[in-house]
Symmetry: C2
Subunit: 361 residues, 2 copies
Amino acid sequence: MTTPPQTAPRRATITDVAREAGTGKTSISRYLNGEMSVLSPELRARIEAAIARLDYQPNQMARGLKRGRNRLIGMLLADLTNPYTVEVLQGVEAACHALGLMPLICHAANEVEMERRYLQLLTTYRVEGVIVNALGVREETLRPVGGGGIPAVLVDRLVDGLSADMVGLDNRAAAELGTRHLLEQGFDDIWFVVQPFEQVSSRQLRELAFRDAMRAQNAARAHTLVLDLADTAAVERGLAELDRAIEAGGDDRAMGKAGNAGTPGTTARVALFAANAPVALRLALHLKARYGAGWQTRVALLSIDDPDWAELAGITTIRQPTYEIGYRAVEFLHERIEGVQSAVRDCLLPGELIVRASTSR
Amino acid sequence: MTTPPQTAPRRATITDVAREAGTGKTSISRYLNGEMSVLSPELRARIEAAIARLDYQPNQMARGLKRGRNRLIGMLLADLTNPYTVEVLQGVEAACHALGLMPLICHAANEVEMERRYLQLLTTYRVEGVIVNALGVREETLRPVGGGGIPAVLVDRLVDGLSADMVGLDNRAAAELGTRHLLEQGFDDIWFVVQPFEQVSSRQLRELAFRDAMRAQNAARAHTLVLDLADTAAVERGLAELDRAIEAGGDDRAMGKAGNAGTPGTTARVALFAANAPVALRLALHLKARYGAGWQTRVALLSIDDPDWAELAGITTIRQPTYEIGYRAVEFLHERIEGVQSAVRDCLLPGELIVRASTSR
DNA sequence: CTGTTAGCGCGTTCAA
DNA sequence: TTGAACGCGCTAACAG
């Protein structure tokens, strides 16, 4: 049974409905906006019938034009490839649904230029607010948005110089949690592996907290490795450096258990601390290639973010409350849209440690 | 340096620009639409200056209202959690970018009710077309869209009773490719594992092609296992069934190499054929839990879809040309929007076999 | 309770 | 080459 390719019959407008119901446009408008109390049941019934008959659906664009609010919000995403992003998005969608908002999702695919273009596009569509999770937007780009312009809420990362609400992981606490766990498990040579810091505050904060935690425990061997995943050659070099460290360290994790922490000159037990899931994946792939299927028992890997393959790879993770992050972001934005003028708010949510084979004896 | 929270200065309108440039709105409109030839260079310069001074940006909504086209297209997605979807999306975005379209992304999160709601919402925003990758939309829901209504293009799955362009994997060829590979590697007891078919034509097609391929090779032991990932208890039962088969089959894959294919009563070499990535993940998790880290050498797993963790898990996959699927879908849709009236088209793209440890000796 | 009127920001006649 | 007037689909006064 094929649908006939007949010419598209122009969609009914409010005027059509009014004519069909034998009344004026205003009454239709009132009906649409739920002002039922001011409509006689009789008229109301006629309107309902007319709407059904014409399969009428109000034009949001026209409404928006008139009212000055179109219920659209922009959602600028740096990288949908990162499971974190998708999970946050689910929270965003749920909240939008609950608040009658419609998110315009813009995926910049890690390209700063794209971010700029999308931000401008969103402006052009007169979104009522923006949720920003971007790689390289600077204050200038966001100025017409955040300051004096439309409301903005930052997710996961700050934009320097811009004061706006922000919601994300409590990076300091999370990095400390991870570091402490590794130290407790007896690892004393820890490599924090992170993508280039760029403008991404969360990366900076995590690394900083890691170093602080190491220092606080008098654990001398703390290293930071910056891995630009987009640069194959650089990645190779970085991984080679890790290999040297791993192979100089304890040959077997079980063996090194009583290792003398921090004492220089002795074999140390090496652990890798990935700043996020993309990094962790790259590391895991390498470790598997180099040390075989059982690599988890050879070198410890802990990651912030808890992608669905973490269980499969047996890596320890710190799971972010992604859904809630997205949900809260929309709530914040909604309040701002509604005119709340309170001081800028930061919402830092705690991460949850999930211990798996790679860091347990 | 904080941005002062001054009151939002109303965005400039075309009227403001006209006044600022000392001319009428019409000229501004002409300028915006690139009709430069009809503007004196002098006026044109004044307009440019005024636009810059006011930081004017035309209101897309108003334009859309007037022109009857707002450059918006809807993109209905069944499941962003599936890496396939994200990859397709990247193709969609690239094509939209190239064609001056803006995709409204709607994520139904596998809920049929959500799909209905979003479809209606899209209608309400007067999108010019829709790309549909849905779980349960029926012809009725899509009627105002596909038939006689706004143009639609289907991705990955058909909607029964609806004739619309569609683009996706050549499921038949892909399933044959996978089946042949497994048979060639000497597996003769193959389980096709798939989510409930529902309205999803691709699932049905893959399963059908699998059975056909098995029959064509006179390979007697072909099974189909339907796994409803949302139903934990049902999954457990299904997995138990698989375990029985696996453990009844050859104890070691290397051993069974010379196994007598299809002969009943002898030990057979068991392989699992996952219909897509979510299924493959569930299977891999179970196999790892039951057979340990080296499960890949114990039981073969092949999957349609090539998620980023496939390499990590060492499973053989059939990679879909996801980016191209998304890109082509938008191209098709764009043509329809532009009024192309040709017969309904199907674009079936080939998959690529990527052999990994789990199915090679 | 109901209809009339005047725009929202913009594009498109049509005259000037 | 330019601009004034009208209307897109809808809402918000303002009468009745």
